[in-house]
Symmetry: C2
């Protein structure tokens, strides 16, 4: 029988906090009939966000094309939905049940190139666009492609989305942490990038790429154009590829801020040397279609022979599921003014984004009013990374610990806090140690996706819980 | 910029013939307006096989549940389809757009356990059933799980489905070839298994698992119950896990033969030590739903701590797409006699399987009549692995070559043959070297999925091509 000692040692080392022990405990509690508010993961439709009617109507027709020809279909489906479904079927006659080319259905790749051109006003090559099952599949693809030696290193932000740390562990690469500045709205600082790469090189690591998440997960911060230019120049100076995780590009709430893509800034800088992988997904934004596992990766500045290896790698997994590809297409080519579906589409989209913005505010404001808790009101994305303070037990001095001891001590503290929060209130959040945090600080990540009344309930319960948890620690 | 020398050297080594150079050439030719008969891949719906109405009607309702409540819906959809869609929605209220648990939607895992119990008359544990995006995702999962050292070896049949050789190359493991016996209907022989493992151990390889494909790809052979028992005892003797690729379990055409699962035989033998991974998929059988990327993996004889690592690995990829999970559910729980959909379902299923059986016969018989070509009429699956003879150029004696030289020479010969076949006739098949073949033999794999008239056309064209190709070689 296969024993634990037979298992891939890299897998044994890997961690993925977003679906870790606390979530398993939450599922157990739910099975026992307890109400859980799942704030651990950006899964909008599990938290009652409605899918866009336009998207689902088209999928419905494409799953069962005979529906288009039923008498009365034109009463159920708007004319542009039927037109669009017929057009898709014409361009992809094998339908939703056939494998596609490994890179994805050709007309969809072209539509995505058009989407990038429209969004950024820059040219895009459909022959460098690859359809993937969510953005995570794209990220895994890049890690498989670029990890070649034991000392290959990836620069990742701290805090980060744990997909990156898990992939680094799984593919046997080395992790190079650069810290985001909590005191400055989780800003990304050039001097900190230089510090972290210098330290890595000193430790024998060969840096191959830098990952940037914009808007930030878990921080909710939105990068400025200038900041992005700085990262590109930094990557060029050090010969790094860039992984630009841009899945929250439609989730920008703060007044005066806007999303800038790495592709656009790179084009404006005339940069033709730095290899860029940009990721986008149907799971976030206002579609929230996580279950369809759709997304794409755009690559810039890559020679043909390397690109052929990317295609080969995708071909070993055959292709992304067709429905996910179709949702990605609909994200890239939404209804236009004048189309019969346009008004409803615009209304649904506006309501979802407006609601998210409002909930970001409610959550941020509410948690900031709790003594010993603070958070930047999220500028974007779907999360808040909340700082909280806990008193140390008598006689414990973290400053006197070794870095390893301190890390262990703090990881145990935020994990226990989140577990007790779950057990006491049904609120499921993820400990900050799963994302990384500066020594001496404690955090948790929570989404603001639940319905407004749940967010209000959450703020109230969290306050009560935190006060009593701190009180118990002081008594102990 | 990322250069080829930066790329993962394991990826550079990997090959995946089914989607290799010949297929890329076929796509180019198609873009230039040439008719291609795609026999390279088991992609039924791309070759005009129709999806089952029952499956697609349910997906259509679940993508757009408001459809169920439209006036007239009961005229479009049979009552059991609407009942079933409502039941699914009740058990999975977040719908097709939400991430599921990493192992899959709980009620579907239970339905699959019921399916195995019904198929084999043995108990099955839903907590060892994992929903995957097609069977290939399950196979990748096992390779990631079990590959731990550079000398870990996997026994694979020759010829094999190249997913296995590609995965071995990609995960940096070692390949242990065991040859199937072409002279004996591609039978699997115990002495050959012993020979191959002995040779591997002598070469410093540590064998960890054996992969078996039943019914066979590319051979079309169906294993006997006795044969399967032999493999299980062999695995036990040598401490191997078993990967049982059973995706063609519904594709058995030969009279008097039936599919036996490894799980069933293992249960009957009372075997509780050998770890078994069984794979199944919605892509083959009579559903042919490749584009939905659905499937499952069942695990037997695995301790909880190892199983937890499997779950963690799946969680790093979040979850399989929901539509694929739903199709897998419908495969496991088809309509029953008495249900409104049953008659049509049974008729469509029967027609597809009857058609495949007939086409297997036409192809097998037709190719056997070509001088210098021979094939076992496929007993199952969707492929024929066709042997063909070519004269050697004057002065060339393969017997005098080293094994490496001979391999290179023969690989060039079958690849060139298939490329010329494509260019001359539009028929796209895969060279035998992509699957592996005994030295001194040449093969190609073709599916028998195209419509009957195309199969007849294919046989005629192939005869003409082969005769002229051989004639040209003799002239040279």
């Amino acid at each position: 029988m296969v024993k634990l000692s037979d298992v891939n040692s890299k897998l044994l080392k890997a961690h993925y906090a977003v679906r870790g022990k606390i979530v398993i405990r939450a599922q157990e509690m739910e099975e026992q009939g307890k109400k859980i508010i799942y704030c651990n993961i950006g899964n909008p439709q599990a938290l009652r966000q409605k899918p866009l009617t336009f998207v689902r109507q088209i999928l419905s027709l494409l799953e069962y094309p005979a529906l288009m020809d039923q008498p009365g279909a034109d009463k159920i489906f708007p004319a542009d939905v039927i037109r669009r479904a017929r057009m898709i079927l014409e361009k992809n006659p094998a339908g939703t049940g056939a494998y596609t080319q490994s890179a994805g259905i050709p007309f969809i790749r072209k539509a995505i190139a058009g989407f990038i051109e429209g969004r950024d006003g820059i040219p895009a090559d459909h022959n460098r666009i690859l359809l993937t099952e969510g953005a995570s599949k794209g990220v895994h693809t890049v890690f498989t492609l670029l990890t070649n030696k034991d000392n290959d290193g990836y620069m990742i932000p701290i805090p980060q989305y744990p997909l990156y740390s898990a992939a680094i562990e799984l593919y046997g690469a080395r992790r190079i942490n650069y810290f985001l500045d909590e005191g400055n709205h989780w800003g990304l600082d050039g001097a900190e990038l230089e510090r972290s790469i210098e330290e890595a090189v000193k430790n024998g690591i060969d840096p191959v790429a830098i990952a940037v998440i914009n808007p930030g997960n878990p921080t909710g911060a939105v990068l400025s154009r200038k900041n992005i230019g700085m990262v590109i120049r930094f990557a060029k100076k050090h010969g790094l590829a860039i992984l630009a995780d841009e899945v929250y590009q439609d989730n920008v709430y703060a007044e005066g801020l806007e999303f800038h893509s790495f592709a656009k800034v790179m084009h404006e800088l005339g940069e033709k040397e730095v290899t860029l992988f940009s990721f986008h997904s149907v799971s976030k934004g206002f579609l929230g279609e996580c279950g369809h596992r759709g997304g794409y990766m755009e690559i810039r500045n890559m020679p043909d022979d390397v690109y052929a290896e990317v295609i080969k790698l995708l071909s070993i997994g055959l292709c992304a599921n067709v429905d996910g590809q179709l949702v990605t297409y609909l994200m890239a080519a939404p209804p236009q003014p004048g189309d019969e579906s346009y008004e409803l589409y615009a209304k649904e989209k506006g309501a979802i984004l407006g609601d998210l913005k409002e909930k970001a505010g409610i959550l941020g404001k509410g948690l900031n009013e709790i003594e010993g808790m603070s958070v930047d009101v999220p500028e974007g994305a779907m999360y808040a990374f909340v700082k909280f303070d806990l008193p140390h037990p008598k006689g414990v001095d973290p400053e006197a610990m070794t870095p390893a001891e301190r890390h262990k001590y703090e990881t145990a503290r935020d994990s226990k806090y989140c577990l007790r929060l779950l057990e006491g209130t049904g609120i499921c959040v993820v400990p900050g140690s799963g994302f990384g945090q500066r020594p001496g600080t404690l955090h948790f990540r929570t989404t603001f996706l639940p319905p407004k009344e749940d967010i209000l309930e959450l703020v109230g319960k969290m306050k009560k819980f935190h006060v009593s948890y701190v009180a118990k620690l002081l008594e102990a």
